[in-house]
Every structure is written in C-alpha cells, then in structure tokens.
Amino acid sequence: MKQFEPLTRKKDSQAARYLIVDDSVFARKSLAKMVESFGGQVVGEAGDGCTAITEYARTTPDIVLMDITMPQMEGIEAVERIVQEHPDARIVMVSSVGYQDNILAALQKGARHFVQKPVKPDALYEIIRYVLNDDGVAAPVHAGGEKDR
C-alpha cells in the first residue's frame, strides 16, 4: 500500500490515534491498513454503535471512522451519543450508503465529514488531514440549523 506523509496531532505532533467502527471485520482491517499508511495508530475497534461508545470513552481517540449501517445501534445514533459526552470528538462517517438525508443527519448529530465506500486512500487521507486541523468544536445542529454553542 502507498505510504503517505504521516498525519500527526496538532497539539504535540504525535501520531494520530484512531477508533475504527464497522460491523465488517474486513472493512475494519482495510481501514486499519490505510490509517497505518497515514502514520496513524489504531487504538480501538468496534463492530456496533454501543461498543463504539464504550471504546471511545476507554481510548479517547483523535479520530473515529464510523460506519452507518450496523446491528444493534447504527452509526448516526452512536455519533449523537459520543458527541453529547465528548463535544470535541472528531468523527468521520464511512459508509456505502451516501444519500443526502444520511449525510445531513450525521453532520447534524456532530460528525465532521463523510466518505463513501469504496474508500480511496487518497481521499480519506485528505479528509483526515482536514479534520485533524479543524479546531471547530462539533455540536448538534437543530433542524433550524442553529448549533448548541
């Protein structure tokens, strides 16, 4: 796999730490390889939204890569619950289902970005670079468009 210039945390230039959430073991493995090629460290994995919430609290990652369609608890609900507890969470949605309603719902709940599967490493790299450097604190957006700040 192509190696990229390492993406580091802005605050201390250390390797970015990732939590990967997807019900497919294969997708998690594939994303983990990409993340490693970006110089990142995978600190946790989860196969559903419930586990993602506990893994987030345990690992406090810099970036979460979150699938949408999962058993038990879907990605969008997990985003809402993580951002409620950790308003500075940086979550990137990674899903094959990329219709506008889904993207909007995820962003309204506090996700920072969206990538559609199949994921191209170059595209994911650019998005993570953007999200790591984005200091804006995520906050749920109400239907009217106003953020809770």
Partner: protein, 166 residues
C-alpha cells in the same frame, strides 16, 4: 420489474468492480426466476425496507471473490480463507449501498440493513419469496451474479401531489 429501479444496481456493480478488479464487467445473461435460487459461488444478501422493499443477493465465483478479497485486504488472499466470504459481504454492502444512494437521491425513501453471508439453503429459500431478476456479469476472474427482488410500494411524493383538474 421496473428497469429504472434495476439500473442503479448495474451501474454501481460496474463502478465498484472497475475499481477493485480493474476491469469493466460485461452483462452476459438476464433471467427472471420465481423458483428457488441456486447459489453459484459465494453469496451475500442485503435487504431494504420502505417505498421500495426487497433484497439483493450478490453471488460470486470463488476466483472473482478471491480477487476482490485480495484488493480489500491489500495482501494476497487464499481462496480457502474465511475472509473471502467476508469480502463478498463487504462488496455487497458497497454495491447495494451505492445503488440505494442513487435511488434515494431520486426520491425513494427506504432503510438498508447490514449484509449477511448466505448459505446454499438460505439462498434457495430467499428465491421463493418473490420474482427476481438475475443478471450475470462476466469478469476475467469469473462470473458475478446479482439477484434482485424488490417491490415498489408507494409512488414518490411528487407523483402523489394533487393534480389540478379543469
């Protein structure tokens, strides 16, 4: 079955396989089936509910599935490894998810469920529920089948809008 609902699945499979197998698959057969579906290789199914309801089975020759698994894993994968089934599941998720995205953007509302690997018995049982359209795509690594069964429940909202008369 309406061809305009099937077209996104064809386009999506074409695009995803072009990325993963570096080839453009060619449709070599199209059949309708009302009886049980006999699995050809490794199969996974994704179901959806809403204005359009149904399920799509992605069924791949083992060699084609192994090639996709190798692409997704980024390493050489042996055809006997369980990860090949998982790759078919993930491919089904991508192909069907991308197609469903196109349909949703055209105004159809529905919810998609996670993919599941299908055994031979489950495949046959799945074929009994309703009429299915089966498309066979040829790739250099073997054939890929899409078995599409769906029912259209409601007209789209703009088609339901009252029509001024007189």
């Amino acid at each position: 079955m309406r061809m305009d609902l099937i077209q996104p699945f064809i386009g999506s499979l074409d695009a995803v396989l072009a990325e993963m197998m570096k080839t453009s698959p060619r449709i070599v057969d199209l059949t309708m089936e009302e009886e049980g579906y006999r699995r050809k290789g490794l199969a996974a199914s994704v179901s959806f509910k809403g204005e359009i309801q149904g399920r799509v089975i992605l069924d791949m020759d083992p060699q084609a599935a192994t090639q996709v698994a190798t692409y997704l894993a980024g390493d050489e994968v042996d055809s006997s490894q369980p990860i090949v089934r998982e790759a078919v599941c993930e491919l089904a998720n991508m192909v069907i998810g991308n197609a469903v995205t196109q349909l949703n953007d055209r105004g159809f509302q529905f919810k998609v469920f996670p993919p599941a690997v299908l055994t031979e018995e489950q495949c046959e049982a799945a074929g009994h529920d309703s009429e299915a359209t089966i498309l066979c795509f040829e790739t250099p690594a073997g054939n890929v089948h899409l078995n599409i069964s769906m029912q259209y429940h409601r007209r789209r909202s703009r088609e339901r809008s009252p029509v001024a008369v007189g």
